[in-house]
Symmetry: C2
Subunit: 456 residues, 2 copies
């Protein structure tokens, strides 16, 4: 019984899967923040290169992956599919637990799956520099890595409190040659305005997005990049699920349950979308997005048009949201602290093809420790959300006496998040459940905005 | 052209290679620190379990790896053999550069290759707890990981300055359930004596070794474990080279040059020893150990009997040494700051089967940055020493127009060593060459000790 199912490089998928071609009904259009009218490719041209805008709106089911991208992917891809035999034994479950290990990339997470193509398409479109924002630094480090491989400059606006408290991912970015700027900064008008009012502002992802977009549109040869939420990001991430399907086929397995943690939805979508296609075609699969109880975007938010940032500078997206002014409670899974959700994932929830559940912070760390002491690897705090849900499913399988096959994304390792484990082991973390009234108020604040359509 | 050569789990080597059976002349015996007489297995029984003592002195060429160890090895082994295609291109070299990636283990280095068998043999021998020391934390975290898999308690004495300044590896150990104690501590008589004299002592590896040994012999059911230098440690590490040979055979390659960084000699020996056997049997290979210019144990030290620790508590080992009182200059490759060298490696240098060279700190970080920006992965500072030597060999191949095949151990990743990269990028690091007089004095201090024999 092998612990690792390896796909040779020659078997790496040659196309990404575009689920836009298979949705039961089309996505509601993205709207211009000023006019409220559907946004045009031209509008997006100020911040994204043309090939990525085309992918954002593509109709083809399969999008070819250029050889120049495949070559870089093969620095770490195909990633191993692993079986969690030791955890199965400890849980005494008849379930078979498989995980797609996306931690083996140089920055240690799934993020380079889209950072590499975004850097590549910018490079071939003549971009010299890419600006982006980052919270805890997963996305910023992935883009820094990708830009170093294609010889592009990279400027990362990092939320100041993370910049100060979590220096390791910042140094990773600098090791790959990127410039990392604490946000709010004096580099942009947005940053200057905020600093004039609050010189000690700890920053926020919303502010950092606004700064990165402003930096992109005001510097020559410069574009912007986003690490989650958008259609082209999820498209690139489907390499996860496409590889996993081949690997599962190699051992004659098909999942009953597919699980991933969901912040903006990109690692979850990456594994899930190729299985959503199977579900549309009649296969019986549970596909479950797992989110923090303290940031319950899908499970308790509204399906509405909303802005992607606090400053209302981004287009309006049709998505599950807790409101663009939502500020999540302190939570040690930085990648899951986003008020919105990828429109594709949101639509699939509305269509009943994807379920969602939320888990408490303490349960996620308990699950992560259990994992580390059986399977060895220390998971990222985000990944612990998926693991907590997997353990619940495996226990259920034991109670039901069912030989269930569970598959999930192990989205990243936790080697740069040890401070969160220290806080947990020292008993300093708590659970936090958002009060109903807070959610009600945040959603009511969206009532003046347009409404997306519902289930097809 | 594939970047990764993968060996299936079914092909994992079933035996370790014991070079003691093939040495041109036997190792000089290890001597008792009190009597100066060859040490007996019984003497070692106070700190090591019997199966490890047997391995330390074994005569068989092949030592069977128990299934219970293979099962744990397969959490991450066989490790990938990778080809550094991007670096080759940037260097414009006809050399083909392969590296055995030992960073893919849960703690991120080669250390678990011996931590797993050491924990296993202790477990089956009835040990309840293992004590050890650690500097920067590579070895301590590997043993903590291994003990968590076998349900053993683990107590790690960590040099206080590292405990305070490098909390991440300490938290890793705690995540795996180990107890980590800053050394010097009040847990041992050695520690108490030192603290009484210097309450602010930053500690040293020598002190931590003494504390760990004392803790092992004074607690019931407790043994001691060492992460490098000894014969059984190098034996376990030969899994690296045995796998690499199979992988090189798969693609029809044989190395002209084999390279590894050397601190105590275990990752270097792990790759090199199976190739030393080939060299003994007539193959033409350069086998090169790379050490820091600031801690030039092989290149400038004496081949002499010396203690393994500052407090002269360990047996006398026949090895290359800078003297047990040697205190290396500040150096950001913690794993290479040891005054001695594995007796096996030392003997092979004396026999002319292994060469050694030293590299400067600034060159190693420049090499590491070059690697990260081409091959993607950020190497450990120790690994950067090997990479610096590899780049020199590749340049030489270009000058000579030779299609040389270079193979080296990528001993660990640098994700927990980002502070060292920050210091380098900020221009705060320097080179340091040890003055001749310092070396002379340190070696003269050994003149009262017995002398080992020379070349056979």
């Amino acid at each position: 019984m092998e612990r690792k199912i390896i796909l040779p490089e020659s078997e790496i998928p040659r196309n990404w899967y575009n689920i836009l071609s298979d949705l039961p009904s089309p996505l509601d259009p993205v709207l211009h923040p000023a006019t409220g009218k559907p946004i045009s490719p031209k509008d997006l041209g100020a911040i994204f290169p043309e090939p990525l805008i085309e992918q954002e709106m593509a109709a083809d089911r399969w999008i070819k992956i250029p050889d120049e991208i495949l070559e870089k992917y093969c620095l770490w891809r195909p990633t191993p599919l692993r079986r969690a035999i030791s955890l199965e034994k400890i849980l005494d479950t008849p379930a078979r637990i498989y995980y797609k290990d996306e931690s083996v990339s140089p920055p240690g997470s799934h993020k380079p799956n889209t950072a590499i193509p975004q850097a590549y398409y910018n490079k071939v479109s003549g971009t010299k520099k890419i600006c982006t924002e980052t919270g805890a630094g997963q996305w910023g480090s992935a883009l820094a890595f990708a830009c170093s491989l294609y010889g592009l400059e990279c400027e990362v606006f990092m939320v100041r409190v993370s910049y100060d408290q979590k220096p390791y991912r910042r140094i990773m970015m600098e090791t790959w040659g990127a410039t990392c700027i604490p946000s709010p900064s004096n580099k942009t008008e947005t940053g200057k305005t905020i600093l004039a009012e609050s010189p000690d502002s700890p920053g926020s992802l919303g502010i950092a997005i606004s700064e990165a977009i402003e930096a992109a549109v005001t510097q020559e040869g410069t574009k912007y990049a986003l690490g989650s939420v958008l259609n082209h990001v999820l498209l690139h991430q489907t390499i996860i699920g496409l590889e996993a399907k081949k690997q599962m086929e190699l051992i004659g397995e098909f999942p009953d349950v597919v699980i991933g943690c969901a912040g903006g939805g990109s690692n979850f979508g990456g594994l899930a979308l190729p299985y959503v296609e199977e579900k549309i075609n009649g296969k019986n699969i549970s596909i479950i997005a797992v989110e923090p109880a303290s940031c319950p975007t899908i499970t308790r938010g509204a399906y509405a048009y909303d802005f992607g940032d606090t400053a209302k500078k981004t287009p309006l997206l049709p998505m599950h949201t807790l409101g663009h002014s939502f500020i999540p409670a302190p939570l040690h899974a930085g990648g899951l602290r986003y008020h919105g959700m990828a429109p594709i994932i949101s639509k699939l929830v509305v269509e009943g093809l994807i379920e969602a559940k939320s888990v408490n912070q303490l349960d996620t760390f308990a699950a992560g420790i259990r994992w580390a002491r059986s399977e060895g690897y220390i998971p990222a705090p985000e990944t612990n959300h998926a693991i907590a849900a997997v353990i619940e499913e495996a226990k259920l399988a034991r109670e039901e006496g069912k030989e269930k096959v569970i598959l999930f994304t192990w989205s990243g390792h936790g080697l740069l998040d040890m401070a969160a484990y220290q806080a947990y082991l020292a008993g300093q973390l708590t659970n936090y459940t958002l009060p109903d009234d807070d959610i009600k108020a945040a959603i009511e604040a969206l009532s003046d905005l347009p409404k997306p359509g519902g289930k097809s």
